[in-house]
Amino acid sequence: MNLLQEVTSDVFQDKIDQGEYIEPKDTMPEDYRKHLIRQMSQHAHSEVIGMQPEGNWITRAPSLRAKQILLAKIQDEGGHGLYLYSATETLGISRSEMIEQLHSGKAKYSSIFNYPALNWADIGAIGWLVDGAAIVNQVSLQRTSYGPYSRAMVRICKEESFHQRQGYEIMTRMMRGTKEQQQMAQDAMNRWWWPSLMMFGPHDNDSPNSNNAIKWKIKRESNDELRQKFIDKTIPQALLIGLTIPDEFYKLDEKTGHYTIGKINWDEFHNVIKGNGPCNKQRLKHHKKYHQEGAWVREAAEAYSKKQKSKLK
């Protein structure tokens, strides 16, 4: 670091420490910008890729009400992706570059979306557990230090709680239904519980990107703190409707009031990130296909706009 960079970085850190927000035109360390682009684009890609497991169930929703709700939820996810792409573009990266990085594998998305939605109970479990975990993370990110990211999070959090509630409602109704429905709900719980806990990322001791993120207040709480919040909220919700926690070691620590859980299978987590989850290839292939097949729409729109402009001249 040269002297100028050091001074800039001190001024920047002072601003962060005083709780000020950083805006697009403010001076910021290159690593801060890079970290944000990586995290925010990954967040945006996750919203968009996350439309796939649920989209699969639109035509098979069990009622018109369920279909309307699912459509609205998936439209929201697309919207959330767009809020986040929009916020990330303020850091000087274009939408095209972000999509290119997703397609080349340079940019990741949340590995939870590499699991399949096998039946209707999965739609309940995704809304309740996956969106539930996402909310815990996103509520915390409302206070992230980068202004446009923070504002996108505020907007997203306002909309997200409907997602979680509709999922919990599906689970509740199935648990009040026939024996087969109860088994389906429990089966979905068994498959989605652990991957949802992995959504918060590795334990704090093993999290390579966390140090700067906390210092720069991009992240306001650690992976383990956020995971604990989710666990404490969700276990009572599961028990209330008669679901079993698929963890023989979980228990309530009476002293702290927090639940403790068994060991998370991190081999599975890393394996899915590496690309070996049940649906990794399918998710990316689908995105590429529709991106390419939609090219003519963008071209036609541009051609039309050019023609309109030339008429004005």
Binding site: G79, Y83, S94, R95, S96, E97, E299
Partner: protein
């Protein structure tokens, strides 16, 4: 490797949430013309009745001040305190002023 930008132009979106209130920046959209920009802004930023009016402006048409000039630009003019109502001494007992 250069990447072809085929994602249309970027427009900034401003939403008025209720009549009488100012339009506030909401985010941006991509669109090839004004009509599409307004349509996309409606779909993306007002799905829950958040708006009574939308403005869209091409991002390139916005000029912004430079944060490095803030000290000079937003100098609070401490030597011009007579701009504030508290500068003035009112007689004892004066009401509604």
């Amino acid at each position: 490797m250069s990447i072809v930008n085929d994602q249309l132009e970027v427009w900034e979106v401003f939403i008025q949430s209720k009549s009488g209130l100012p339009h506030i920046h909401a985010g941006s959209v991509h669109a090839s013309d004004i009509e599409m920009a307004l349509q996309n802004a409606r779909d993306i930023y007002t799905r829950r009745g958040e708006g009574t009016s939308i403005w869209v402006v091409p991002t390139t048409a916005i000029s912004a001040s430079n944060p490095l000039d803030n000290d000079m630009l937003f100098d609070p003019s401490n030597d011009k305190m007579y701009r504030l109502p508290t500068f003035y001494l009112m007689p004892e007992g004066a009401k509604h002023i």
